[in-house]
C-alpha cells in the first residue's frame, strides 16, 4: 500500500516524536533533514529538471524545420504530423496517466515510468531519422507524447506534495519558467549543434545524430526523477507522513464527483490559454503587416511573451504565496490580458507594450491558477485531477487552434482579437462565478495566506479530533460503514442542532467546510 497514494504533504504539521526520529542517522545535518530548506530546494531543482528534457525535445522539429524537411524529404503537412501525433493522443492520455499514477504506480514509480517513456519516445524519433523512416519518427513522437504530457501532470503533483501551503505558487511559476527555458535553449542551441554535426555526417543521418544528442536531456530528466523518487521515499519514511490510513483509493468514476469549482477552474484554464497560445502561433503575420515589422522583429515581439513569463512567473508565485487570494490574482491577470489584447487589436501602439503586458498576465495567471486545483481536490485524487485539467486544456487548445485558423482566414485578425477578447471575458466571468461559489463553500480559494494557514490548522485538528473519537469509541472493527460516512463530532452535532432550530450559522461554520475537513475519513 506504500506507494499507492498519500494523504499528507511533506511539510504538513507532524507530531513531535516524528521529528525526533528523523534526528537519528544522517538526518541531523541540515542538508539531509527532509524538513530543511536545502533538502526541499534540491527537490525543487530536480522537479524543474524532470520537465526540462521533454520541453527541450518537444520543439526540436520546429527549431530544425528546414533541415528536417530537406533531409527527410517531407513536406509541411507531413511535418505537422510530428506535432499532431504528439498532442492529439495526449488529450485523452493525460487523464489515464494521472489516474494510473494515483491508483497503480504511485507518484514515484509513475514519474519514473513516464520519464522512461519520454526517453524511449525521443530515442525512437532519433532512430527513425537515422534509418530515414518517417513513420517510425511519428510513432516515436506518439510515445513521447504519452510520456511527456503525463510527466507534466506528475510534475504538478510532486510540487503539491512537497510545497503545498508554503511556496506552492512560486514552485509552479518556477517550473513554468524552466519549461520555457527548455524550449528557448532548444531554439538557440539546435541550429549550431546541427551545423557542427553536419561536418561529420550528412542528410538524414545528421538529423538523427543531432536528435540523439538532444535526447540526452531526457536521460538527465530520467535520472532526476529517480533521485527525486529516492528523496521523496526517504522524506516519507523519516517524516512518517500519514500515508493512506483511510485506505482511500481513487476510482476513475471519481472524476464525475469532482467539485464544481474544479470544473470551473478548468474552464478558466481553457478560456484563458486559448487567447495566448493560438495568438502566438498566428501572431507573426499580424505583427509584420499591421505594425510594419521585419520578420525578425516580429519573431522577437512574439517570443517576448515567453521571455517575460520565464522571468516573472516565479516572482509572481512568491507574491501569491505571501498574499494568498488566488482568485483576485487570476481576476487581475485576466484583466491585464484583456487590456493587452485590446491594445494590440484597437491601437497602433508599439506591440512590445501589448505582448509584454500579455507576458505578465500569462505568468501571473499560471502561478495563481494551477495551485487552486490542490485546494479543491483531496490529495489522493490530485494526479487524476491534474491529468483531467491538462487533458481539457489540450483538447480546448487543439480545437480552438483550428477554429482560430478559420476565423483569421475568413474574418481577419480584428475578428480573431475579438474572439480572444470574448474568450477572456468568459474566463473573467467564470472567475467571478468561482468566487461566488467558493465564498459560499468556505472561501478557501480566495483566502489570504494567513487565513489559509489557520484554516488548514483547523482542518487538521478537526480531522485529528474525529480520529481520536473513532479510536476512543473502541477498536476499529466496531465501526460500521455508516459511522464512517457520517461522523458525529461535537462540532457536527452542534452544527446540526443549530441548523435544525433555524439559527444562521456563522460563515466559518459553513457546511461545506465541514465536508472538506472530514473528507479524509469518508
Amino acid at each position: 500500500m506504500d506507494d499507492i497514494s498519500r494523504v499528507e504533504s511533506v511539510n504538513a504539521p507532524t507530531s513531535e516524536d516524528d521529528s525526533e526520529q528523523e534526528q537519528q542517522g544522517c538526518g541531523g545535518s541540515s542538508c539531509c533533514n527532509p524538513k530543511s530548506c536545502i533538502y526541499r530546494f534540491c527537490g525543487l531543482v530536480l522537479m524543474c529538471l524532470l520537465g526540462f528534457g521533454s520541453y527541450f525535445c518537444y520543439d526540436n522539429p520546429a527549431a530544425l524545420q528546414d533541415n528536417f524537411m530537406q533531409d527527410l524529404k517531407i513536406n509541411t503537412s507531413q511535418f505537422v504530423y510530428l506535432y499532431s501525433w504528439y498532442s492529439w493522443p495526449s488529450v485523452v492520455l493525460c487523464v489515464v496517466g494521472g489516474f494510473l499514477m494515483d491508483r497503480v504506480f504511485g507518484i514515484r514509480l509513475g514519474t519514473v515510468i513516464f520519464a522512461l517513456l519520454v526517453v524511449i519516445g525521443v530515442s525512437i524519433v532519433a532512430l527513425g531519422a537515422i534509418l530515414n523512416k518517417f513513420w517510425l519518427m511519428v510513432a516515436g513522437r506518439f510515445i513521447f507524447g504519452i510520456g511527456g504530457e503525463s510527466l507534466a501532470v506528475a510534475q504538478n503533483t510532486y510540487a503539491v506534495l512537497w510545497f503545498k501551503g508554503k511556496e506552492l505558487n512560486m514552485v509552479f511559476g518556477l517550473q513554468m519558467s524552466f519549461a520555457r527555458v527548455g524550449s528557448t535553449v532548444n531554439f538557440s542551441v539546435m541550429e549550431p549543434i546541427y551545423r557542427w554535426v553536419n561536418t561529420y555526417y550528412e542528410g538524414y543521418t545528421c538529423t538523427g545524430v543531432v536528435l540523439f544528442f538532444a535526447s540526452i536531456t531526457t536521460v538527465v530528466s530520467l535520472l532526476s526523477t529517480i533521485i527525486l523518487a529516492w528523496m521523496d521515499r526517504r522524506a516519507e519514511r523519516l517524516l512518517k507522513r500519514r500515508d493512506n490510513q483511510s485506505g482511500e483509493v481513487v476510482r476513475i468514476t471519481d472524476i464525475k464527483d469532482f467539485p464544481l469549482s474544479f470544473w470551473m477552474i478548468a474552464l478558466v484554464c481553457v478560456a484563458y490559454y486559448v487567447a495566448i497560445f493560438p495568438f502566438i502561433a498566428l501572431g507573426k503575420v499580424f505583427f509584420i503587416r499591421k505594425f510594419n515589422m521585419t520578420p525578425d522583429e516580429a519573431n522577437t515581439v512574439n517570443s517576448i511573451v515567453y521571455t517575460i513569463s520565464a522571468v516573472s512567473s516565479p516572482l509572481f508565485g512568491i507574491v501569491v504565496d505571501k498574499l494568498g487570494r488566488n482568485l483576485i490574482c487570476c481576476f487581475v491577470s485576466i484583466l491585464v490580458t484583456i487590456a493587452s489584447h485590446a491594445i494590440l487589436a484597437f491601437t497602433f501602439l508599439n506591440p512590445f507594450i501589448g505582448t509584454s503586458l500579455m507576458g505578465l498576465g500569462y505568468s501571473m495567471l499560471a502561478s495563481g491558477l494551477w495551485p487552486m486545483v490542490s485546494m479543491v481536490i483531496p490529495e489522493h485524487q490530485l494526479g487524476t485531477a491534474y491529468g483531467v485539467m491538462q487533458s481539457v486544456q489540450n483538447l480546448g487548445l487543439a480545437l480552438i487552434t483550428l477554429v482560430c485558423g478559420i476565423i483569421v482566414d475568413n474574418g481577419g485578425y480584428l475578428m480573431l482579437e475579438i474572439f480572444f477578447l470574448a474568450c477572456l471575458c468568459v474566463a473573467l466571468v467564470t472567475t467571478v462565478v468561482i468566487y461566488l461559489y467558493d465564498s459560499k463553500h468556505g472561501g478557501i480559494l480566495n483566502m489570504s495566506a494567513d487565513d489559509r494557514e489557520v484554516y488548514e490548522k483547523n482542518r487538521i485538528s478537526a480531522e485529528d479530533l474525529e480520529r481520536e473519537k473513532l479510536v476512543a469509541a473502541g477498536s476499529m472493527s466496531d465501526i460500521t460503514p455508516q459511522d464512517l460516512l457520517q461522523p458525529h463530532s461535537d462540532f457536527h452535532i452542534r452544527n446540526r442542532y443549530l441548523s435544525r432550530i433555524g439559527a444562521n450559522l456563522p460563515s466559518h461554520y459553513n457546511e461545506n467546510q465541514k465536508g472538506l475537513a472530514y473528507r479524509a475519513l469518508r
Binding site: F286, K290, T347, F348, D409, G412, M415, I418, A422, L428
Partner: protein, 407 residues
C-alpha cells in the same frame, strides 16, 4: 530608392464610435447603374468590351481594350454620348476612338510593361536606380490575348482575358498573364480576396502572372509592373498616393493598409479618377493569409518620352495629341516581400485594384462585426457588473448575519 510617402491614419476606437457607424449603415444611400455591354469586333473574338453604365444623372463608359496593351478607359458623359471606333486605324492613329458628344471627364490606365528583377538581398523592394542587366529586365506585355470568359447580367459584367507570348524570340519562355475585369451595378465588395470595395463608378482589375519562366538567369527573381495613368486634367495636376492604415482587416484578412491613388481633380472636388488597392498579392488560387505576400509601390514618374511609352495603345489613340499636354504619369508596383521565398516559390502573383471615378470608397466596420463586438464584449461586461453588485450587496448582508450570531 524612396518609397512613396506613407501617411498613416490611425483610427482609435471608443465606445461611442459605434453609434455613428450604425447610423452610417442605415442612411447610406447609393446610386445604381444599369449595365449594358457591347463586344468588339465580335462576340467570339473579343478585343474590346464597351460597358455603358447608365446612372440617374450621367453615363459612365468603361472601355476594356486588349488590342495591344491591356487598358481600361473610363469616360463620364451625358446620356446621349456614344462610342465610335475607326477599326482600320485603331489603335495606331490618334483619335481613332472617341465619344460623341465629348465626355465630361476621362481617365485611362494601361498596364504598360513588366519587370523582372533579381532580389539578391531579399528586400522585397525594387531598386529603381539600378538598371544593370544583372539586376533588372524589362518584359513587354504579351503579344497574344485570348478571351477566356465573358459574363454579363443585371448585377455585373465580367471579362477574363489571358495573354501569352507566342513569339519564339520573346524573353518569356513560358507563362501567362491573366486579367479579369469586372464592373458592378451596386456598391459592394468583390467576391474574391482581397474583397476590395467598389463603388458604382469603378472597374475592378485583377492581374495575375502565372508560371512565368524567362530567359533571365536570376536566382531570386521577383516581378513588378508599370502602369500608365492618363486623364484629361491639365499637365500641372498629378496623382497622389496615400496609404491609410486601420486596425480593421475584416474584409481582407491580414491586410491593414489601404492605398488610394487620386488625381488632383479627385482629391479637390471628387471629380476625377482614382485607383484603390490593398498592398497584398496572393500567390495561389486558393487565396488566404498563408498564400499571400506584400506589394510595394514607388514614386510617381512623369513621362517625358510620350511616343515610346504610349504609341499604339488605347491611351494614345483616345487622347491623341493631348496626351502629352494632359496628366500623364507612370507608377511601378512590385510583388513580393522579404522571406516569402521569391516568385519561384509558388510561380504566381495575383494583385487586384479598382479603377474608378469620384472619391475612393471608405471602408467601415461591417454590421456583423459591430454586432459581434457588442455581444462578445458587452454581454460579459454586463454580467461582471451585475455580479460585482451582487457581491457588494451580499457582503453587506453577510456582515449583518455575523453580527446577529455574535450576540
Amino acid at each position: 530608392m524612396t518609397m512613396a510617402s506613407y501617411k498613416m491614419t490611425n483610427y482609435y476606437l471608443s465606445l461611442f464610435s459605434f453609434i455613428p457607424f450604425l447610423l452610417c449603415f442605415c442612411c447610406s444611400t447609393y446610386q445604381e447603374r444599369q449595365l449594358v455591354a457591347e463586344l468588339y469586333p465580335n462576340s467570339t473574338n473579343v478585343e474590346i468590351v464597351h460597358v455603358r453604365a447608365v446612372g440617374s444623372n450621367d453615363t459612365l463608359h468603361y472601355v476594356w481594350c486588349f488590342r495591344s496593351k491591356p487598358t481600361v478607359l473610363l469616360a463620364l458623359t451625358s446620356h446621349a454620348s456614344n462610342l465610335s471606333v475607326l477599326w482600320e486605324q485603331f489603335p495606331s492613329t490618334a483619335n481613332s476612338i472617341s465619344f460623341e458628344p465629348k465626355p465630361i471627364y476621362s481617365f485611362g490606365v494601361s498596364v504598360n510593361q513588366l519587370y523582372e528583377f533579381n532580389d539578391v538581398n531579399d528586400t522585397g523592394l525594387l531598386d529603381m536606380n539600378n538598371s544593370s542587366e544583372s539586376y533588372i529586365h524589362t518584359i513587354d506585355m504579351p503579344d497574344t490575348w485570348e478571351m477566356k470568359d465573358i459574363e454579363q447580367n443585371l448585377d455585373f459584367v465580367r471579362l477574363v482575358m489571358e495573354g501569352s507570348w507566342k513569339n519564339n524570340e520573346s524573353f518569356v519562355k513560358q507563362g501567362t498573364i491573366r486579367i479579369e475585369l469586372e464592373t458592378y451595378r451596386e456598391q459592394g465588395h468583390g467576391s474574391d480576396l482581397p474583397h476590395l470595395m467598389h463603388s458604382t463608378n469603378a472597374t475592378q482589375l485583377e492581374f495575375s502572372m502565372r508560371n512565368m519562366i524567362t530567359n533571365s538567369s536570376f536566382k531570386q527573381s521577383r516581378f513588378a509592373s508599370e502602369l500608365i495613368l492618363a486623364a484629361n486634367e491639365s499637365a500641372k495636376s498629378s496623382v497622389f498616393p496615400t496609404a491609410y492604415k486601420s486596425f480593421d482587416d475584416e474584409h481582407t484578412p491580414g491586410v491593414f493598409t489601404l492605398v488610394d491613388l487620386q488625381t488632383t481633380a479627385s482629391r479637390e472636388q471628387n471629380k476625377g479618377g482614382y485607383m484603390q488597392w490593398r498592398p497584398v498579392a496572393y500567390v495561389a488560387d486558393e487565396r488566404d493569409i498563408v498564400n499571400s505576400t506584400e506589394t510595394a509601390f514607388y514614386d510617381i514618374k512623369n513621362i517625358t518620352n510620350t511616343s515610346s511609352k504610349c504609341d499604339g495603345t488605347l491611351l494614345a489613340a483616345y487622347f491623341g495629341d493631348n496626351l502629352s499636354k494632359n496628366l500623364l504619369n507612370a507608377l511601378n508596383i512590385s510583388f513580393g516581400a522579404k522571406d516569402d521565398g521569391f516568385y519561384a516559390q509558388n510561380n504566381m502573383s495575383i494583385w487586384t485594384i479598382t479603377i474608378g471615378y469620384g472619391h475612393p470608397p471608405d471602408e467601415n466596420f461591417s454590421l456583423f462585426l459591430i454586432l459581434i463586438m457588442s455581444f462578445g464584449l458587452g454581454l460579459p461586461t454586463v454580467i461582471i457588473m451585475i455580479s460585482g453588485l451582487y457581491i457588494a450587496l451580499r457582503r453587506i448582508t453577510y456582515r449583518k448575519d455575523d453580527l446577529f450570531l455574535s450576540e
